[in-house]
Point group: C2
Chain length 267, copies 2
């Protein structure tokens, strides 16, 4: 999917919501347990309930791999069920040497036809490049994550002592490709950093996990993170899929987003 | 597998060789193409040829995921075929928030019964901890990788300007668990750094990729990397599995290793 197509979808739906299909088999409602593939049945239900309210689905590969071969099959069938015009993210956090990354690119962009994959930056440019050879496919690079231990390394000062590692990741990786092929993961629980991040990457889309269960504020994220093509995908996983009424939970976020989009266009 | 069991296996086989099953479907010999599962048949052949000469097998998940559901099945069956007393590594380079890592731990330590998994350090301690809850299972943390772009971030000076990021990863992560549950990936093409690394982590096992196709020197790695419980797993993938005679290629490395083990015990 192109950046323009994603932007148009956001305007049409008045939403920059990404629904995370972290479909833990042990947490899905009991009414799905009797299905042949309970997680697939659950995912179809969630997609039916939310497809009009979100612009992206994020499939966290861990929740499928934990069920082995059967789980990988559930993932493939879930991806097939997602409507063509919705942006899809393999939240796989891969990263390896070039030779190996060619295989991951094939796995997630060809065998499975995701629009994008999340990737860890530690191994540098050549661990990303093979993903960028696919037209209209995206790398979503981990910059600042929302977990408590993100500080272990991401906040280390590098070289001049005035740049933190996550900022250096943003600066260096910008040179690898354009904002038509790369987004960044930016943890919402540190929304005060969004302003700083926007000075480094004004034009890129940011994938913001951690709104909801992880405690981030949608208001802050929207205020500090939005740019002229919106530039945000805000993810909610457990807060939607395991809520009593997934449709209403998604709608609530979408309506809040519609308000921020309106505010933004007023200013 | 315990550290002691691994050490005893190394002494018994006079080998610290790890064979990397990077079994690219497009590169396996044509005589396997007519098999129901060509990659599985190839892997069984490689395991039969090398099981007496190596102490570990490393399965690079990318080469299986690229074939989707069928590939994941090949991986599971390959793992089952590996003799129980040989150490197994899921070279998966995972890493995520705690909630998700519990699922990866289940995927690779329970659904699939690997002894260890490679993990990226970028997200810090809580992205590793769930793996450490499994007794006799191991995290193999990326410290210094062997690809050219490893310099993009791993060589950045952090804080005092006298410690590089990969050294800080070694220092910080040492506090997360013991050398009975953690190893480090250290790229062999930078063997001159092994001496430095051994001052930081004298007791840990190091998994050294990049001997052979990636150009590292086994002699240098052994000279600078060995410790009193050997402390090395040296991996060769393409250099063995796609050679004309995998058994002989593995034996050549094993015999060189036997010599270094003898030298080490003399000194």
């Amino acid at each position: 999917m192109t950046k323009e197509a994603l932007y148009q979808q956001i305007l049409a739906k008045q939403s920059y919501l990404c629904v995370g299909l972290d479909s833990d088999q042990e947490k899905i409602p009991s009414r799905f347990h009797s299905e042949t593939d309970p997680v697939l049945a659950f995912n179809k239900f969630i997609i039916d309930q939310t497809a009009d309210l979100c612009v992206a689905y994020k499939i966290n590969t861990a929740f499928y791999e934990s069920n082995g071969v059967a789980g990988w099959e559930t993932m493939a069938k879930t991806l097939e069920y997602i409507p063509q015009n919705i942006y899809t993210i393999a939240d796989a956090k891969r990263g390896d040497i070039g030779n190996t990354v060619h295989q991951y690119a094939k796995a997630f962009f060809k065998t499975l036809e995701f629009d994008s994959i999340t990737v860890a930056p530690y191994m540098g440019k050549d661990s990303i490049s093979p993903f960028l050879e696919y037209p209209n496919k995206w790398v979503i690079l981990l910059a600042l994550t929302s977990n408590p231990s993100s500080a272990d390394f991401q906040f280390l000062n590098v070289d001049t002592n005035q740049t933190q590692l996550f900022e250096q990741v943003l600066k260096t990786s910008q040179e690898w490709t354009t904002d038509e092929h790369m987004m960044y993961v930016v943890g919402a629980t540190q929304a005060d950093m969004l302003q700083k991040i926007r000075t480094i990457v004004p034009d890129h889309f940011l994938l913001v996990p951690g709104v909801g269960a992880q405690g981030g504020s949608l208001q802050e994220v929207s205020q500090y993170g939005m740019n002229k093509q919106v530039g945000l995908l805000v993810n909610s996983s457990r807060g939607i899929i395991f809520s009593e009424n997934p449709k209403e939970s998604a709608r609530k976020l979408q309506q809040e987003m519609a308000k921020y989009l309106e505010d933004y266009h007023k200013n």
